[in-house]
Symmetry: C2
Subunit: 201 residues, 2 copies
């Protein structure tokens, strides 16, 4: 269950919200505070309707609270859903690997190409499943540059954009975190060429 | 500043953590609880080293707390960074629009194609900038089906995969949330064709 609490930015208000949860023996799952919007979001296990009504009334009586309503997601969950839905929808295979070439993110199209279940590939090395490129050697090279290569997966041919992923460390210096691989199948490439030419008619 | 607290799953522990923060007049920014891993993560404004040492000692004295250490990100932030870095790195333009054809997510490649700044396009309609497809009419149609179309942006030609994005509502029923547009430029398409043929030599 999640609540969106409209409130003043008052020190200690989060504590009073927590007091209410504890009084119902509810384990906190998460709090997110957006001081700019004057909003606090709380996530906790579901409770029955009667107790829930009571809890809402108590929340509304906390000094500085202006409104309380239920919400489907915490802001971070909404953002996460949006991006992961976007990846899920992409027709081309998308795989992120860490600096040891282990899979960290993979979308449905890529799972289909690799003919593997999500749980079976996440955290595992991609190398064994892909012919035509040595990810590990490339990641350990002096210059890790973007590549466009032809790969083979289960006997099928793909063109892949292979790109280094850089992230800032604590000091703001960019470090290599891994890579992202964007797979395009021969049939999709053909489909795009047709769409291009069709535009000329 | 962010702490990773290794602790037992004890009711009211979050409150005691908050008590310590409030005692230093620190506004809470967020708490995330991972009961499975026995971890709690807390985010709050930075404070000077001396006070920070004191605060850490107090945290460690809370019953049920086994270890406290600093961490760069809350789990939700780490996941968010990973996905948004992935989108940022993708060489093809990627744009997500809501059900009113307003831009919600856009990566660097797409900003470059549209020759527009992120702040200027987010929340605004994509329609005015793209010739060759009526997003609004498509989104309001009875059957919102995936399309591969040729579009024109600033006089340049692109092939676009245009796909509906479905999300489950509270009852689990799939509803149309918007769409994702994957832009491929003529030059990138050519580059991929070359890579394909080169693989044959």
């Amino acid at each position: 269950m999640r609540l969106e609490i409209q409130c003043q930015n008052r020190l200690g208000l989060a504590q009073e919200v927590l007091n209410v949860l504890v009084s119902y023996q509810l384990d906190l799952r998460g709090i997110e505070v957006d001081p700019g919007l004057g909003r606090m979001y709380v996530s906790f296990p579901t409770l029955n309707f009667e107790k829930f009504q009571e809890l809402m009334a108590k929340m509304r009586r906390i000094t500085g609270v202006e409104d309380v309503k239920t919400t489907a997601f915490l802001p971070s969950e909404r953002e996460h859903n949006e991006l992961s839905t976007l990846l899920k929808t992409l027709p081309d295979g998308l795989i992120a690997i860490d600096s040891k070439a282990n899979v960290t993110v993979i979308n449905d199209a890529a799972l289909e190409v690799l003919a593997v279940a999500y749980e079976a590939i996440v955290g595992q090395s991609l190398q064994g499943m892909v012919k035509g490129f040595n990810f590990q050697r490339w990641l350990e090279g002096d210059d890790v540059l973007a590549q466009t290569r032809r790969l083979e997966i289960h006997g099928k041919r793909f063109v892949a954009d292979i790109l280094p992923v850089m992230v800032p460390d604590e000091t703001g210096h960019e470090i290599l975190a891994g890579a992202v691989i964007n797979l395009k199948s021969e049939s999709r490439l053909g489909q795009h060429m047709v769409a291009f030419k069709k535009g000329d008619q």
